[in-house]
């Protein structure tokens, strides 16, 4: 169930490289916040179940809390995921291209995404602004919904910045394919993905495996 993953290669490449690293920090922080909310939700719901079943005292508005928190993990990591090439796609055709054809195709693909994400950022901001204006709240315990709705334009803005860096990175390569890729996810073969899965599955053991194979 893993999307084709890729890792960035951030060599020292002037302004683009510096921007890439700077945006990466923000992306990591956003994803970390999302992950923390997932973790909080695990404890919160476990406590809710125990409270309800053992002590007959459910946490009021548990569903409302969860739905408000969902704004974080549903959106905040989107740019992080894009940086690592985690959003799923089909590489049947593009995987066979190389050089100029590859970089221009990639440029087209991220430009389409960029246009989409910018429009969604604008339109979801409008949705958020309406929530503030009317003081929208959840059904059960009247939690305000605007903080959750704010996550969409915030996350989409960061994703738009990431896609812009991708566009820059691909144009740079299209103009001079001999350069090292910077600020773009690198496509991986089935063997590469398999290797990543092995490292994921085996954790520390994978290192010893690498050493064994190298010998």
């Amino acid at each position: 169930m893993h999307g084709a993953g890729s890792a960035p290669r951030t060599a020292n490449a002037g302004l683009l490289g510096a921007l890439d690293r700077f945006v990466s920090y923000i992306e990591n922080a956003f994803t970390f916040v999302a992950a923390v909310f997932i973790f909080i939700m695990m404890f919160f719901l476990s406590a809710e179940v125990l409270g309800r079943k053992l002590f007959n005292s459910p946490i009021p508005g548990a569903i409302d809390w969860v739905e408000v928190w969902m704004g974080t993990f549903a959106f905040l990591g989107a740019a992080y995921c894009q940086r690592l090439g985690g959003h799923v796609r089909m590489e049947m055709l593009i995987g066979r291209l190389s050089g100029l054809k590859l970089w221009w195709s990639e440029f087209f693909a991220v430009t389409v995404a960029f246009i989409y994400v910018v429009i969604i950022a604008i339109q979801s901001y409008a949705h958020f602004a309406r929530a503030i204006e009317f003081g929208d709240s959840t059904i059960d315990i009247q939690l305000l919904t605007w903080p959750s709705k704010l996550m969409v334009p915030v996350a989409m803005s960061l994703l738009a910045v990431r896609l812009l860096l991708n566009m820059w990175g691909y144009v740079r390569l299209a103009l001079d394919p001999s350069k090292d890729p910077v600020a773009v996810p690198i496509m991986k073969s089935a063997e590469d993905i398999a290797r990543e899965e092995i490292e994921h599955g085996l954790g520390h053991d994978a290192d010893s495996l690498k050493n064994n194979n190298a010998r």
């Binding site: 999307g3 970390f32 719901l45 969902m70 704004g71 055709l93 087209f108 995404a113 969409v152 053991d205």
Partner: protein, 443 residues
């Protein structure tokens, strides 16, 4: 241009974009967004898309996804693999090809809990293949059983892909999770039977383990206990109606988390602080990946609803001069082919908005179809040309060539086709548990 023509053009546009490498979430989203803007204007159409992004996914029923994903990432650190294999070996080792049979059940259990087919194949290449090879087992059999066992991840709960299916076709998440269990267990049994049969006819493939004692069997049970506990919490919690699917996921994840912490504290092995942080970030990444596709697709579905295309397609399918079964089989063949090139969840989300209404119109049960189609997706994980699980086995065991792994996998692919055939012939196997659950909760 009328809405219907626009609908057809939208399908062509999505297929083109997906082919040239646009990420599925963005391809579906952008087509839906522009479709809505063309039909309803910038303010209403665009506004609808902006609203759908948030409102369609911040829905309680979807909160089960990160919980199941978290269970998967923590499962590696809770020390489940060795224990599961030892237990399965103690109980099933006496059968012909006993170690391979044990591998089937241990991988099925671990794959179910971790939810990750390929990573399961990696882990068991390390745990089970060495033991099989040193016991003189045929290496094709050893490699094939590990690669195939991982594919049982998607049917036995917790299963993220079944949750995604349920959400997109608007069926009960609980019903889909219940429905997956028996077919998943049945698949494992069919794999085991294939191994036993082949080893019985040709004992040189792999022999029974000698000298297993009852003490060994009973002592090994705690090794399998965490896996059984997680599956039982989810099935039991949903079946009795005591917990929502999300709550079963949260309790399961907490259990595995404390096991991993305990293992570190008591035995000093397993999850380090960095491992924990990595698991969190990976959970965040996979979660947002799935959510981004879901809302992208739902923007497209919004638009599709205005075009009338899905109704027209369903109408056309129903009036084809061939029996529904033939159409069903044709659809399944398309899924096998797609499954070779595309991630399962992406593929389901991309195709279901059009395929699902047609399946309903043909008179098939949507819960049943979900199980069949997920089984098909899994077959794609082991068949050439991609067959990721086979690459993984070969990656961990470079001494077993990829061609041998692919040869080893065929008996299990045939087993899968037999399973699908049985599930088509006897839909009750799939629908029995969810129907009982509904009666139980209603009663």
């Amino acid at each position: 241009m009328d809405a219907y023509t626009l609908g057809i053009l939208s399908v062509v546009a999505i297929i083109t974009m997906v082919f040239i490498g646009v990420r599925i979430a963005f391809a579906a989203g952008v087509v839906g967004l522009f479709g809505l803007i063309i039909l309803k204007g910038w303010t209403a159409g665009g506004g609808m898309a902006g609203l759908t992004a948030h409102s369609s996914v911040t829905h309680y029923s979807l909160s089960v996804l990160p919980m199941f994903i978290l269970i998967g990432y923590l499962a590696y650190y809770a020390g489940l693999t060795q224990g599961a294999f030892r237990c399965a070996r103690a109980w099933f080792g006496w059968l012909p090809g006993g170690l391979a049979v044990a591998t089937v059940f241990a991988t099925a259990g671990f794959a179910a809990v971790s939810g990750a087919s390929t990573a399961t194949a990696a882990v068991f290449s390390r745990v089970a293949i060495p033991e099989m090879l040193s016991a003189g087992y045929d290496r094709r059999l050893a490699a094939g059983v590990v690669a195939a066992g991982g594919t049982l991840a998607s049917l036995i709960p917790p299963s993220a892909i079944l949750v995604v299916y349920a959400l997109i076709v608007e069926e009960s998440v609980g019903a889909l999770l219940m429905a997956g269990f028996i077919p998943g267990a049945f698949s494992a049994v069919v794999y085991a039977l294939i191994v036993i049969l082949r080893c019985k006819m040709n004992p040189s493939l792999g022999e029974a383990v000698q000298g297993l004692s009852w003490a060994e069997r009973f002592n090994s049970i705690p090794g399998m206990a965490p896996i059984v506990a997680v599956i039982a919490i989810i099935l039991g919690g949903i079946y009795t109606g005591w917990m929502t699917p999300t709550e079963t996921g949260a309790v399961g994840a907490a259990l595995i988390f404390f096991m991993a912490i305990g293992r570190r504290a008591i035995f000093g092995e397993g999850m380090t602080g960095k491992d924990f942080l990595d698991s969190m970030m990976e959970t965040g990444k996979l979660t947002v990946m799935i959510f981004t596709i879901i809302w992208g697709i739902l923007i497209y579905v919004r638009f599709l609803g205005f075009t009338g295309l899905t109704t027209a397609f369903a109408d056309w399918i129903v009036h084809l001069p061939v029996p529904p079964l033939v159409i069903l089989l044709m659809i399944l063949v398309v899924y096998i082919i797609l499954g070779m090139f595309m991630d399962g969840i992406g593929m389901l989300l991309l195709t279901l908005p059009v395929v699902h209404p047609a399946i309903i119109a043909l008179g098939y049960d949507p819960v049943w179809f979900g199980i069949i189609v997920v089984k098909m997706v899994e077959v794609g994980l082991v068949t050439p040309p991609i067959g990721l699980n086979c690459f993984v086995v070969n990656g961990v065991r470079p001494d077993i060539p990829l061609s041998e792994v692919f040869k080893g996998i065929w008996p299990f692919v045939i087993a899968d086709f037999i399973t699908v055939g049985v599930l088509i012939a006897f839909p009750g196997i799939v629908l029995f548990l969810p129907e009982m659950m509904i009666n139980n909760i209603a009663g």
